[in-house]
Amino acid sequence: MSSGTMWTLVLGASLGCYLLKLAGLSVPARWVEQPYVARTVDFVPAALLAALVAVQAVASEQELTVDGRLAGLAVAALALALRAPFIVVLVLAGATGALVHVLA
């Protein structure tokens, strides 16, 4: 991706995200508080973040591969279940990924 495209993406997406914030302070509340709109917005993050977890862990372009990322994710899930702090979760996941890379 060229530097110009990247800057257009960075600035355009930033403007879009800002306008979404501004809209909340500007549009009539009843537009946003429609039951179906509210329900969709409440659940979009779960669907999207889970999709990102899955794609980041096992997708390489259009292929599904098993490598250190999946091992790191499994360790991260265990750490989160044990209520480890964020930084500990990331360090453990990173160490697992590095270990698999060295051993493989």
Binding site: C17, L48, A50, V53, Q56, V89
Partner: protein
């Protein structure tokens, strides 16, 4: 206003800023891994300033996705800030130019702090203190992550590759656990989103499967009367 309550609000705001700062390092590193330079990563933190959208944008790019798919996923995650604004309006009552400035700091953390404050004056203090603390640390640590990861070798790069999905999982995790409203339904939607994304991966351009995963929201079912709201 009682001084103790105000002090507690300020202390929590600083604590939250430090916690979010750790995510900033992870974001800066993920941005660098996805091909953004340090300036682009910093400008995103300065101007976009909404963590999940920023992570999504660099995540989709890192997976080989197009600029359009990256922007689309960032905007979809940004819609929840619109709902936050609606909730904050009666608490903050910004006017004129104040609304333009206030909007920039409407994010998960400032909303949670303002809504939890015992009265309107403290809600305003909570919003501003949390906004300032998170903004400062998020941007500073973005630079640290972006510059730090440039010095990484092969093995460290493998470590970073494993950190990115773990960071997304850490963002997702609190939504799946009680006391988050309807945590069981959130888990169902999350599982559906992951399955849809993986099933589509071989067949669609990279990044598109992430956006397509929003169809999993249908698994949440119909709106409930007086449904719980996410903060």
């Amino acid at each position: 206003m009682p001084d103790a309550a105000r002090t507690a609000v300020l202390r929590d705001a600083i604590g939250l800023g430090v916690a979010v700062g750790l995510y900033g390092v992870a974001f800066g590193a993920a941005a660098a891994a996805a091909g953004l330079d340090a300036w682009q990563a910093l400008v995103m933190s300065l101007l976009m300033f909404t963590g999940a959208s920023q992570f999504a944008l660099v995540g989709v790019l890192g997976a080989g996705g197009s600029a359009l798919a990256a922007a689309g996923s960032a905007l979809l995650l940004g819609t929840r800030n619109t709902v936050y604004g609606v909730r904050l309006l009666p608490l903050l009552r910004p006017r004129g130019l104040g609304r333009v400035g206030t909007a920039h700091w409407v994010i998960d953390e400032t909303t949670a702090m303002a809504v939890a404050a015992p009265d309107r004056r403290l809600a305003r203090v909570a919003f501003l203190a949390t906004g300032a603390s998170v903004y400062l640390l998020w941007n500073a640590t973005t630079v640290v992550g972006a510059l730090g990861s440039a010095a990484l070798g092969d093995t460290a790069q493998a470590a970073l590759d494993a950190v990115v999905p773990a960071a997304f999982l850490a963002l997702l995790w609190p939504r799946l656990r009680t006391p988050f409203p309807e945590a069981a339904v959130q888990r169902r939607v999350a599982l559906g989103g992951a399955v849809v994304a993986l099933a589509l991966t071989p067949f669609v351009p990279a990044g598109v499967q992430v956006i397509a995963a929003v169809v999993a929201v249908a698994l949440a079912g119909r709106p409930r009367p007086r449904a719980g709201v996410a903060a």
